[in-house]
Symmetry: C2
């Protein structure tokens, strides 16, 4: 199968400029070639040396540098000690590395006057993320978005993930078919971080026990959740629980099932910027519909949800 | 915390008769004691010796026998070679064991004129089942039901699972607090079956990597899915896609989101006894709404879904 990036990711345009994150690994290298193959040429490669693997890290940087020279693509390359950051910020390796990358992308965006950054996450990363979030306790199978805006200080970056529906093996096939070389990241194989252990220990064990392509089932689950979310959105609209002033109407809410009430409160609060929504908090909000109970609920960030004259509002 | 079974499982009644499945392991033994503690006394214990562990299996049977004698509870005990069944039926150990148990329950139900069978599945079994089904590719996080009817030949059995919201550690606490002994099933620790490997290898690994109570997060996910299903049911009703004859109305279906169309077809077909519904089949059904396309879809069991005069029906 030939990978046609513009068909897979119709949000990409040949006429636009993009920053492209390239570590030197198989995923980002295949993405860089796929972008160029599909006629997207106004790109700036961004490489951050995390200094986690000494000489190997420097070799990665040189590899990316040579490749960009060969492909005649502009490169911004920086180096930062993620280990030092980790110590000074007392955060995990993953958190520090992500923060360092995001700050680097923000600098690149400013320098290049371009806030669109293409990342190389693929479908197997997606399955891993979904399983990870599920086990961490997210509501529904939460996954990465193809398009994601991300605020850093007063800058807004847009992350684009054109490979999100492509499987890892498809990228490997593309690389070998086209004789493209890449740098193998040795740390990917180490039980370095929780995510690595998920990839290298849990998923192979699951494949072995279940004797099937577990990732593809997790990916189906993601689509299923996304479709369900669409139905829930439609149901919330249909429930007509808002009055003309945008406040919630107690009588209308009392007529719908409890599960939909919870979804309405979840939607209403997150639309109003309150995102730290535990199950228990939503249950307390639902309790406002019992007019014999307390008429207000304290929310995070000193906000209060009140019931007055058959209306509920912030 | 004291476990009050009638509060946890209000569907149980002191005045009713029940068959109670007891293997002799910690789960079923604690359930048997909890049932008697809560005043449910019209019970018949059902024990099936699977003959999978030689002498240990026989010792389990004797253990259950003695206990029933002590508790003054009627016992039906049978013995069957699951290994022989497995060979003759060419099925997996799990499938053969389950079938043997179900047939045994059916015989007990007939003999005792009682079709209510209490099983000892608890919340950790539930989490395991949900993860298992998710990785196997079910739509949504499918789990066991507290009440489940099951057909065997012309008999209908009702399985009841009062412990489904109780965690394993709670049962263990109850056992040790009340000085109750049980039989440890050595095969539970062996990489005997896929389910055992899930319990003994995957879940502990996940707990270790994620550093949290993974099962409780999976259980939250089950409630979330169940609530979502309720919303989808409500949305299907609200969509008003049926005509007075119970056929699907093309015009009405065209007005709702694609995800809800798919849910409607899924619901319509499964209500009509067609349960082998792949994603791809549902997509072909949705295509009937494109009036320029083919006007029928072949379904399993020689059924056909047709579009005629703006209606879709079987």
């Amino acid at each position: 199968m030939d990978l046609k990036l513009l068909d897979i990711a119709p949000f990409l345009s040949k006429r636009q400029k993009y920053l492209v994150a390239v570590s030197g690994g198989a995923d980002s290298i295949s993405q860089l070639h796929l972008l160029i193959d599909s006629g997207i040429k106004n790109i700036v490669v961004c490489h951050l040396n995390h200094q986690l693997r000494g000489r190997a890290s420097n070799a990665d940087a040189r590899f990316v540098e040579k490749l960009c020279h060969k492909l005649n693509v502009k490169l911004i390359s920086e180096s930062v000690s993620v280990r030092l950051l980790m110590k000074s910020e007392k955060s995990s390796l993953e958190t520090s590395a992500r923060k360092a990358r995001h700050n680097f992308f923000a600098r690149c965006a400013k320098a290049e006057k371009c806030n669109r950054i293409i990342l190389a996450h693929h479908a197997d990363d997606q399955a891993e993320t979904a399983l990870w979030n599920l086990l961490r306790g997210s509501n529904g199978v939460k996954a990465m978005n193809v398009l994601q805006t991300h605020k850093i200080g007063n800058q807004t970056l847009t992350f684009l993930r054109p490979l999100l529906s492509i499987r890892r093996y498809q990228l490997r096939t593309y690389l070998s078919k086209n004789n493209i070389s890449w740098r193998e990241d040795a740390t990917n194989a180490e039980p370095f971080t929780a995510r690595n252990r998920m990839r290298n220990e849990v998923l192979p064990l699951l494949e072995n026990i279940m004797q099937r392509d577990v990732n593809s089932n997790i990916l189906n689950q993601i689509s299923f959740t996304q479709e369900n979310n669409e139905i829930v959105k439609w149901a919330i609209e249909r429930a007509q629980v808002f009055d003309p002033q945008g406040r919630l109407h107690v009588g209308a809410l009392q007529k719908i099932p409890k599960s939909l009430q919870a979804a309405v409160f979840h939607d209403y609060l997150s639309e109003n910027g309150i995102i730290e929504l535990s199950r228990e908090l939503i249950d307390r909000c639902c309790n406002l519909l019992n007019t014999a109970s307390s008429s207000s609920v304290n929310l995070p960030r000193d906000k209060i949800l009140r019931r007055r004259a058959q209306r509920i509002f912030l």
